[in-house]
Symmetry: C2
Subunit: 250 residues, 2 copies
DNA sequence: CGCCCTATTGAATATAATCAACCGCCGTGG
DNA sequence: CCACGGCGGTTGATTATATTCAATAGGGCG
């Protein structure tokens, strides 16, 4: 399913300050993989290797179980992964992947052999810290998502999702107000834990309240502070950039 | 808050087959800590040390944020931890704990210095595998919980909780049908993402349908297969014992 | 052009929240 | 010993929120 692979020198990578691979040393190489839209990086049930994946560009959905059991449309979206996220951390100890990862658009990932990097060589302690930080960060992100699911209405979760996407857009150098939703309404619904109809209605409401403009999948946020107020009880910060900072510093 | 501490020789520990500490070597020691009911093992905001905790007996709730901000009762329960769970894995890379852990009953935990065990000594690779297995397993557990929150009604989540508690009871040598709920209705409600009233009604329904007997906090499951059918769509297995087996085998 | 798939809209229904009252247990103090 | 008050838990009535079922709209693509 992965469409093309090429070698990659981490020391000249544009994302080396954020990446685990680059920290391992200047001569490190990794494999760069190009994934076409709607194809999977890996499928639930396939063998887990020695690698984790770093998204260089594009976006993915993480789906519980096989991505297309044909008839069975209850493939639940348990998360989205956008550049520069890492994928495959939850499978470190497993023989088979429990989830499938499907590209929402044409994307590029780096495959990093974590075992070699994290536990050999001079920079081993640094790499360990990196890996543990990634694991713990992922765990806290899951916790936060679960918290949202428990204690908020669909409206707030939708607002949160929009803000998260916006934030991600911003860290990538683009404007935070304007972006394109890489996922379908159905994916959003599955992720938020509501029906597609409900997503539709929520988006309509948002539009009517002039929180944003929306044409198909193109979004332009108009009132981000209102969205923030809606998502959290009017506080500014989920400490995400803090985690990013830690990662870069390590 | 931790009430008493004593030294502990892991090689004669009754749980050495399941514990990270014991695998490190025969002369390993850890600290055994006694925690009184309603006191916290640690509080959100307190400093993270070099240890993770292994529950030897008793039970805890994991609460997002400080456990008692006095007036503010919206302390959300993000999970329960029962023997022989591990606690503190999500803080490996952090300076401060993000969650608080509160004992639901008088409990005993072992404090294990993971850094020393996992990265020094002859059994280092084994320890690493242990630690990574714990981290990844915890992550998958979170994912499973989130899946339940997204795609199920309160009824199913309640059934799932009861079965989980039952299963835990069984792994500990007791009968799986009869046990005592260590947590309050309010804690259950917070964990399931519903109100306390709703929990009450659900439990009443279960009783009326003769799924179980319930007196205050004492439970006796009468129809476990019905509960299973309710929780998952009539399939048997969340693969949890598999994880346990892997852990013991490593 | 016409089909298929995604998305939207509407009406009726189900599920859980909210608000409010009440019960029963337990510890305290008269 | 019993009365009191507090807390955890239960129950009821009403309302809000999201689901379900069904029908429709619109874009992409052969």
């Amino acid at each position: 399913m992965a469409n093309s692979i090429e070698q990659n020198n981490c020391s000249v990578c544009s994302q080396r300050t954020q990446c685990v691979g680059a920290a391992a040393g200047s001569q490190t190489t990794s494999h760069r993989i190009r994934i076409e839209r709607h194809t999977s990086l890996y499928e639930a049930g396939s063998a887990v290797g020695d690698q984790i994946y770093h998204i260089r560009s594009g976006s993915f959905k993480v789906v519980r179980g096989p991505s297309t059991p044909d008839s069975d449309a209850d493939a639940h979206v348990i998360g989205f992964a956008l550049a520069p996220d890492f994928i495959g951390l939850d499978a470190l100890d497993q023989l088979e992947y429990a989830n499938s990862v499907v590209a929402l658009e044409d994307s590029v990932v780096c495959s990093i052999s974590w075992n070699r990097h994290a536990f050999e060589g001079r920079r081993r302690p640094v790499m360990r810290a990196h890996l543990h930080a990634l694991l713990a960060r992922e765990m806290r992100r899951e916790q936060r998502a679960a918290l949202m699911l428990r204690n908020t209405q669909a409206e707030q979760r939708m607002a949160d999702l929009l803000l998260t996407l916006s934030e991600r857009q911003a860290t990538y150098g683009y404007q935070p107000e304007e972006f394109r939703l890489p996922m379908s309404r159905c994916d959003i619904a599955s992720y938020l834990g509501v029906t597609a109809e409900c997503v539709s209605r929520l988006l309509l409401q948002f539009k009517q309240r002039a929180l944003f403009e929306l044409c198909r999948r193109d979004v332009k946020l108009l009132d981000m502070s209102a969205l923030r107020t809606m998502a959290f009880g009017h506080e500014p910060p989920p400490q995400l950039q803090q985690d990013q900072a830690m990662l870069a510093a390590a």
